[in-house]
């Protein structure tokens, strides 16, 4: 029997991610391009993943698009909301998790999934950059750092500088005033992460915290945020190395499931 390849593409606000699955289980290629909807990102992510897998477009049985830019992505056989995609992806990457916290480039979501990975309920953040990847990017820019450096800086922190505001614009002013006071930069980063954690924990508690808790999305790669969130929620949080690909992975699984349904 010939192998079946399904591709999931997560067209996010700031990044594009692709995952190619072989026979609904094995990830044979993945790509992450730091350019999201309306850019060359989705096309580049697709090309990268296909090249890595040694496949052509025609060899893909199902292409499923998810994420903020899913509706404008051409070439998809199926569309699925990023919430359903993350639920599927998270359940496959972190079997057993019941609460999934997903923080992406411009929004945050909390999902409850059942033991089978089925989405049971969810909440999204309000229309605000606070507590999202965008918030961290803005703060990193103020600190003249790359956003990928924040986790290491947090690990070196000996204290936490309090960032009281949950508004990105006001928090930026607060960070600047703390810089003027010459505070320890690592402690300041820990404060920034704590601020994200407080906001995300509020959203999570609003839906309810059912352990085990897992985290997906780009911000899950920042161990400082994960630690701060664990402290805030008083629970451990599982993070998969493929956390940022959970949406694309879930979309690829969705395509596989759809294909099976149609058989």
């Amino acid at each position: 029997m010939a192998d079946i390849y399904t591709l999931g593409i997560d067209v996010g606000s700031t990044t594009s991610k692709c995952v190619i699955l072989k026979n609904g289980s094995e990830i044979i290629a993945s790509a992450l391009i730091p350019a999201g909807t309306g850019t060359s990102g989705p096309g580049r992510a697709l090309a990268t993943a296909l090249e890595q897998a040694g496949l052509s477009n025609e060899q893909l049985t199902a292409v499923t698009a998810t994420g903020y830019g899913r509706n404008t992505y051409e070439g998809a056989d199926f569309l699925v909301s990023e919430l359903s995609a993350h639920a599927l992806g998270a359940a496959a990457l972190m079997p057993g998790v019941r609460t999934v916290i997903d923080i992406g480039g411009q929004d945050a979501k909390v999902l409850h999934i059942n033991v089978d990975g089925k989405l049971e309920s969810f909440l999204m953040n309000d229309k605000c950059a606070a507590g999202t990847g965008r918030f961290l990017e803005v703060m990193a820019r103020v600190l003249e750092k790359d956003v990928t450096e924040l986790a290491e800086m947090d690990a070196e922190a000996t204290g936490t500088v309090n960032i009281s505001s949950t508004c990105t614009v006001f928090a930026e002013s607060e960070v600047i005033s703390q810089l003027a006071k010459n505070v320890n930069l690592n402690d300041l980063v820990a404060g920034i992460h704590a601020s994200v954690a407080v906001r995300t924990a509020g959203l999570t508690r609003r839906l309810g915290v059912t352990p085990p808790v897992g985290m997906t999305g780009g911000v899950a790669r920042n161990a400082g945020v994960v630690r701060a969130l664990e402290k805030e929620l008083n629970t451990s949080i599982t993070v998969s190395p493929l956390a940022q690909l959970a949406g694309a992975y879930g979309a690829a699984l969705y395509g596989w499931n759809k294909r099976k349904e149609n058989e």
Binding site: Y68, S81, L119
Partner: protein
Amino acid sequence: MNEVKQMLAELEAVCADPKKQLSDALTQGKKCIGVLPYFCPEELAYAAGMQPFGLWGAEMQVNDSKRYYPAFICSLLHTVLEMGLKGMLNDLSGIMVPICCDSLKGFGANWQYGVGTVPVIDVAWAQNRRLDAGTEFTRAQFRKVLGQLEEIAGHSISDADITAAISVYNKNRAALRDFSAAAARHPEAVSPSARCAAIKAGYFMDRAKHTEALQTLTTKLNALPEASWDGLRVVTTGILADSPALLQILEDNHIAIADDQIAQESVFFRVDTPVTDDPVLGMAKRFETIEGCSVLFDPGKQRGNELVELAKAAHADGILWVMTKFCDPEEYDYVPVKRKIDAAGIPLLTVEVDQQMVNYEQARSAVEAFAEMLRA
């Protein structure tokens, strides 16, 4: 089916251009009274031969109103004030302003200072509305409103006039209930947008004419053959659910509105005014019986119980809470009411809306995910 479509399109046209209704009423020599939500005794204006004109905000950007209100006030009040400040409501002979939430408390003063030309009629009612003293207070306040309306109308308003107006409104409420039930039976013919428009049009039309239109429409709907519906059914709750973009998203996801607990919709028409010797007392008594709105004193949060019962009776797949951004009473209600919904095991989706929103992609994602969840 074509006749139904045509009639719904006519009511949608009314909602798309309320200013035309206002102009038409003025051309007929009627004075018009602006009516802000919630629960203003608009029957009294009708009894005076004036046309009540609903003010439920508008989808527009606000600038001038920000001089009077901070940004974190609901867009409903921001946009009504903006229209007033821009002179768009200068043809009104008065505006009824209830004092039932923190933001509305300051509205009359802001209006008087900023708009000036259109007089404010403050409407107070008793929050302890089920005490005898509460009913008497509301009755007395409505009588006070009556006096102001008489001054604007330039003539007295008899109890017989009020009784006749109450009858017109009760018939309208009955027609709205019948239409809502028929629309729920025929989701293939009445989209969420069309349902909303058919109900909302009554705020801009003569109520008697609205009743006639609804009765004809309902008769046509009831004559349609039973049709199967493989989409989803939800019950909506909140203050407003008239955002064209959100209603279109529901339609795109094959979601019908089976019933509602929306202040602008069924909360207005669920209960009638009882017939009493003093018709104003009847209006105060009606106010005692209204349920399901966050601005009303509601010990034990009966709103949650009513909502659960509505969802069960409608065989709804879930509940959609259309949360008006920056509405404190709605936010306060959310936790206790959600607990009751959760306890009943009914899926709930909350979508925040704002009349100044231009991007609905987050709402689209949430509705799509909710639909996927319900269908899974």
